[in-house]
Subunit: 376 residues, 4 copies
């Protein structure tokens, strides 16, 4: 770990974003047909290593079913509109029409409705009955209170996700903190937990018994965490640090915990870079919100945008690029890399000669000065 | 101190701005309620580690009282309009309406009125009588002449502040230079002195007996010192260097001198970064000028903008974001981090697991390429 | 090879673009008249080290003849419009009028016409009969099927060029991969093969027996490979790595394989930088498309822009700057370096005191932060 | 000399521009009144270390006289309009009205008039008779032919200046190259020679017997040398390298050769940075063209903009900021540092505690990422 002296009394490591790296093809190439994108976590097998983000503009019960049909998986946020309202469609339509500059107030009002435990069960059942893999998400703060309802509904995968989530949460005596170390081992459902952005944080989350760790703080398109809180770590470095934690944890326990890159990816090339840095899979928000059949109708936001006293997210409108199927598998009629994400990933693995996602993690990277790929 | 060879005959150290660092959460988090933001310098205790800048658009007798009520402190500039005019309100209103492009000439005219020693006493009394902590500022050049009037008025804290202030000022025989080394020890009022931006300068200012040192040269929003004079040092490095000077001075003398970061901060995240670099407290100008009850009515400028032969500052208009209370404590209805600065600082300390400002100085930093937080 | 730690689990080398280097004159200068720009590959001698890119907007049978007359050489793409249509002029004219934002669909349609083997023979004959050097290009994927027709037509030089081309292509059992190692040695025509962007890739391509290797992935003006696929390597580093491969291959075999920089150059200064990095010659697309007698009429695009499922290129319109002769040899009436490219290269070699292209490879480079040459 | 590996086959040093450095005040300050800006080269003493550039928009016989009165010196180009035309005023007025985008053709026509040897004598006499220091400039290419006329007219200082000038110029047998080594020692007039931008080039120019060396290639405001030719070296590095050459030459010979930074400076802060890098004086073009009494009427261009086949310069219009006296000595009514350049330099020396230009060369520098001074 090479330290940079920021000043005589403080040092830090250099953090690199995905924009600052590029994948360097080497001596071998491969047919794109000969590339396998499949991903397995716990007992669940997926055709592509993609989780749709637990955001109301990205994952609804319907889009979760469609994503499952396409070989991916969508994480339904159990504190989102689908578990606050029986019929959230009108609110989704309203949000889609909000001006980004003045969305905060209305978002706060819409998200003030309480989470309805009954709806948790109903939404999970709805997805399962359609034959899809059921992946649901909660925040650490609500995990304790919502857990009984979740367990009862028997989802396949549980995501426990906050802006920053740690295995050791300190609280004053007044209330019990969430103890992830005991909680995760107690559950039968495999748990994915995050976000985190450092070796130590990832390692300790892995030690909770989680099946996967979400890597990324403040890296989402709509997040202003970096500006408001000053926290984060550029995504290439965060993933590569988590990869190192995964190796150590595997050495210590024999258990392989998945590193799931969350945020900061726009194109299939970005997904490929995240994998080369060490990701086993990716969680995508804005890239999937561009689908014409995404629930947000082109709007993308996270619940932190609706925070009552310290909002840390924006509402953004993204340009539609086709159906979820086209976004993932093309055909693409545009050269900006925003559709056929999996076709691009497949092609990148082909031109670097790698046949599986795991093998792709060995590709070479170069560090570059110019964002957005290569200049001259 | 790693030196970079600029050319074969000259080397220098790399200086980092606050935009070039980000705070990396680690394995521990904490409840925001369990975070203590208080700050004590000499005998004075504050709820939050914030000094409002000695600028006429930021600190007036009234705003100083309000800031004190909120747990912060405001530094009234004794060479500002409040000590040049009995009724400066009309000038403040006029300045607020000036076009930034042509403000210089009018500012020069308005600031040509002499400082009235009577008003010094009156302003200090006015603040004290309102029950607020009295903090006043002078420039080194005027310190000698104004000091008798200041001492007589008995402020609680005295700020001696110039663009660049050193403990060793060389002057020709014609007039006596200000000898800070003798002056500061002679005074009973605790003194905060600056600006400086290097280890040596900070160390020597500490050795004058000052209670605090202001760190930052050319880092303020409206300053053009970097362009006009070519001097400065990016703020993250300047603070971390001063932190090292504080350690050395503490080791030599047993006296802890406070490092106060001055300028270059816009959000609570920026304040958090300054603290992690080593600051004990921050001096804020433009961020507080955004308050609807700031005396400048949204205009912010420093007196160097009114310099007769070599102006080194601009008049800028900032967008109002709420009352001083909202700027400091929210609630915020915007996601750009410009209000609820202390709520953001509290949250940042929570997500990095630190309970006090002093403890927060131990948090991890990463060095990043992209300004304004994290990109991907 | 200095590795940078991207994160604890992944490292990479720093890659530099041509914009990040500048040529530093040293103690010796030379008359521009005393500079020799000639280049010889295999039995073919050229006055200037320039190959016009195998793009339909750049090289047609007519422009290939004109380029030959001027001492350069043009590579006619045998999968381009001239071998798909007997009279492609109307399609070229139509493409020239397409709006860049909506060109993809029409390009796909135009390029759906099959390649006509008869036309391959006719185009090669047309160029040869005009007395020009015949250089033709194919993609690796079509090489096997088109080769009999190409060999029969007896071109002087054969370019086998894909976005990423390797000496070891892995394919499943269903079809035979192109085995460059056997193919190139079997051919009597000298082969130039690429693109590649790393030491290993270049070395293995050299070992196929190629006369030249094209260096550059995603570096062309219209390429979005870096964005869509995330692959590439900045051009200065890619060329310098290939130079090292050339040295090793020369040491192992005694055979000098030419390094041909492809893409990322706009001015004669850029060409000079590529040479100093190690290039023996350059392949130019957009810079030559600026000629009033270029076949694209000012439009420039590569065939990847017409890809059916994953387009990775744009159509761009470039400003005309004069005839091909003026672009290469001036006189220039503009100070932006876009015409008189060879005059500029000659002048750069003069002010750095180098008499031949090979000698110019020894010039000094500085690494700079600011793109587009020198700032202050 | 720390080398950076650009690629495996080529390395280079990092070059820094003046925008990438900032002057860091240290423990000592000084009264601005107590600062001496004087400069002496050979027998000539100047109040300020400033040479006005040998450009027709900057130095005319009249402005040379005014600059001399102000304590600076102007270099009249003997190949400029004043020695091509008896009455060049109308051409200057016409150039001032040219549109930058289409100035090249007209400039070429205006500069096609031959240099008139008679006018050389007349212009030199005109300046000398006004009591000013006479400094004149020629290009290396014309030095041999114009020298008899120059010597006869007895200027005080002679500048031999080309884009890149070396002590060893190689030419074919057809004509004799300019041999600076013999020429300079043969002359009685002190010679300033350049430009150069490296240690070796500066050292060898010093060994010709020159009194001063101009440092800067492609660093002028209107120069496109960096783009067109790809040559240059960022100015901070070029100056610091020349400083090292000065030390070596002084050690070898006991002779102190002046390093004169040419180009790349806009403000007094930039001039101060150049001095800290190692400059003894500066040559200024665009900053002085901003004077209302500059001969170009606000237009600035170099003769390379009028090159017949390979123009490497632009015509630019700069905003007027006051008389030459105001530009140099103020008072300034603007905060952008473009007037009162010497007042700013004096202030910078004061806040860093340095009393003379020579002493100022010892000040500390920091390397920064953000151009235009300091960000946060």
């Amino acid at each position: 770990m090479a330290e940079i002296e920021i000043g005589m009394g403080k040092s830090g490591r250099r953090g690199y974003s995905l924009d600052e790296v590029t994948i360097v093809p080497s001596r071998r190439t491969r047919d794109a047909d000969d590339v396998d994108l499949s991903w397995q976590i716990d007992a669940y097998q997926f055709d592509v290593p993609v989780i749709a983000a637990a955001q109301d503009g990205v994952t609804s019960p319907d889009s979760a079913v469609e994503l499952s049909r396409l070989g991916a998986v969508g994480a339904l946020h159990l504190e989102g509109l689908w578990c606050r309202y029986a019929d959230p469609e009108k609110f989704l339509a309203e949000i889609c029409d909000l001006s980004p500059d003045h969305a905060g107030e209305r978002l706060r009002a819409i998200y003030e409705a309480p989470v309805d435990p009954e709806l948790i069960g109903a939404r999970i059942a709805q997805i399962r009955e359609a034959g899809a893999t059921v992946c649901v998400a909660v925040t650490p703060a609500r995990t304790e209170s919502l857990l009984p309802h979740i367990i009862k509904a028997e989802p396949d995968l549980l995501v426990i996700q906050g802006t920053v989530t740690s295995a050791e949460h300190v609280a004053d005596g007044a209330h019990d903190p969430l103890d992830l170390k005991h909680l995760v081992r107690r559950l039968e459902v495999p748990v994915i937990v995050g976000g985190c952005a450092s070796y130590q944080a990832a390692l300790h989350l892995m030690r909770t018994g989680a099946a996967g760790v979400l890597v990324g703080i403040g890296s989402g398109t709509t997040s202003t965490t970096g500006t408001v809180l000053g926290v984060g770590n550029p995504q290439a470095t965060a993933i590569a640090d988590a990869r190192s934690a995964r190796m150590r944890h595997l050495d210590e326990t024999g258990v392989y915990v998945h590193v799931i890159a969350d945020g900061g990816m726009t194109t299939g090339g970005d997904i490929a870079k995240a994998i080369v840095c060490g990701a086993d899979a990716v969680m995508l928000g804005a890239p999937l919100a561009r689908a014409t059949d995404a629930p947000g109708g082109g709007a993308v936001w996270s619940m932190t945008a609706a925070h009552r006293t310290l909002p840390r997210g924006l509402l953004e409108h993204v340009e539609p690029v086709g159906t979820l199927e086209q976004v993932l598998f093309g055909p693409s009629d545009r050269a900006d890399g925003r559709s056929n994400l999996m076709g691009a990933l497949r092609k990148t693995m082909a031109v670097t000669g790698h046949g599986t996602v795991k093998d792709m993690q060995k590709a070479d990277l170069a560090v570059v000065a110019h964002p957005n790929g290569i200049q001259s």
